[in-house]
Symmetry: C2
Subunit: 246 residues, 2 copies
DNA sequence: TCATTTGTTTCATATATATGAAGTTAATTT
DNA sequence: AAATTAACTTCATATATATGAAACAAATGA
């Protein structure tokens, strides 16, 4: 794989701060990203030089400045694509109170572009940037269903369908049948195939030439009895999105 | 200079997206960070793998996901130090309507940790992460005034005091005298020494063992006639901060 | 249909980085 | 005040990366 090590590590440093949420010493940071102290030193110097980190005071550790936040806020504010979907998705989230997810395909995975968490205490939680398997997530199935050629054959050729939970569909033909059922139904589902006790439904949409999947996800006990209503509401949102785009 | 190149470049990529605010092709991104296409390719792959970037669609470029924003929001939310200052600084900003800045010393520069921009259309604008010269910014002078030993001598030893504008104090003795005047006055100022037509005043504070400078900055024509009032209000905020910290 | 253009991907190798080990600094303890 | 500890910084060199050049792929136009 073509990962640029230092670029990865720089991001890992911010991820550690996100988790720890407190100033960290070089000697704490280095092991937490599994990097030699001397290498971590160079990385931290770079982030200091660029104004992304500051020394809280001598020997009291480092913490990120608000530079990264200012930057990411600007990036988000200018994201015309997701920005335009957002109002519709928020309406959807508020209508069903479950988590709404926007995902796209990246190689043989689903990448979450944005997550609007549901309003209930017990809810499906995830983060933008998370990856999910194509064959066991609702968005994954939705995207497979519109993949050029036979999406499933192409997928299975690369790696066998891994069993994430006991419910994961690992058989190619069963997956194809599941996709057919989804096509007939108008939406694609997953029930405990990726995370136990989670049920989700998704549909593929093409907006502005970009193919994305939009999903509703939540605990099975709330989702299962309401699938029809949820699907209706989801499809209505998708209709509104398409109308707004054209 | 111990900059780790790829780490720097990864951040530059986000900076470009912050400025452009639209999906960029590899062929646009590479020249904008002054990197060969093949190197840029590796960086982009890394960011894709880590879920920080997504391909809008084939040959339509890349854009950041919300992962970075989610991360930086978590980091900011957990920043107990600045978080605690914030209410006081907001009050100050609202009271004077001018930009409030928190800065700290990083080597021979001032690093802006946070900037609360004033409420007026004509105002001092800056970003967290910006660097300013020690000898020609108000926070710089405030921090020099509390530097151990003779801050000015140590500074001048490294690099001569660069003239940023025609007003910049480039003479060591004049700078010392200016600091003395500041000490007597109770606050430190700069008038067009760093940016033409900008006047600022700052004081050093030690909170929780960390030495920072807090400044008010704005256009000279508004600042100059109000220095006494502004200084009063600034010192009052600093008093409140110290009281809250102890 | 074929040629052209534009954008992406790969690869061998020159080049810059990452790292273990040693050195420095400052605070804390004895 | 000396010894100890903990954290940071430096450095020579093994090692991984960056890059020019060339191949590839898709879209566009003739």
């Amino acid at each position: 794989m073509s990962a640029v090590r230092s670029a990865s590590r720089a991001l890992q440093i911010f991820e550690v701060f996100g988790v720890e949420g407190r100033p960290l010493l070089l000697t704490e940071l280095a092991p937490s990203i599994d990097v030699p102290l001397s290498s971590c030193y160079g990385l931290v110097q770079t982030l200091l030089e660029r104004g992304y980190l500051y020394a809280v005071s001598r020997r009291r550790g480092f913490y990120p400045t608000r530079k990264l936040h200012t930057l990411s806020t600007a990036i988000v504010a200018k994201d015309a694509y997701l920005q335009r979907l957002l109002p519709h998705l928020e309406q959807l989230r508020d209508a069903v109170s479950e988590t709404v997810i926007v995902g796209t395909r990246q190689d043989d995975k689903v990448l979450y572009l944005d997550v609007l968490e549901g309003t209930q205490t017990i809810r499906y939680s995830a983060c933008p940037g998370d990856f999910k398997p194509l064959h066991s997530s609702s968005i994954g199935k939705a995207l497979l269903s519109v993949a050029p050629g036979d999406g499933v054959e192409a997928l299975a050729g690369k790696a066998d369908l891994a069993a994430i939970t006991a419910n994961t569909i690992t058989d190619r033909d069963r997956l194809k049948a599941d996709l057919d059922a989804g096509r007939a139904r108008g939406y694609f589902t997953t029930s405990g195939e990726n995370v136990a006790d989670v049920t989700a439904l998704a549909v593929p949409v093409e907006i502005d030439g970009m193919v994305i999947g939009i999903a509703l996800a939540g605990p099975s006990y709330r989702m299962e009895p309401a699938m029809d209503v949820l699907a209706d509401r989801l499809l209505r949102t998708v209709g509104a999105l398409k109308a707004a785009a054209s």
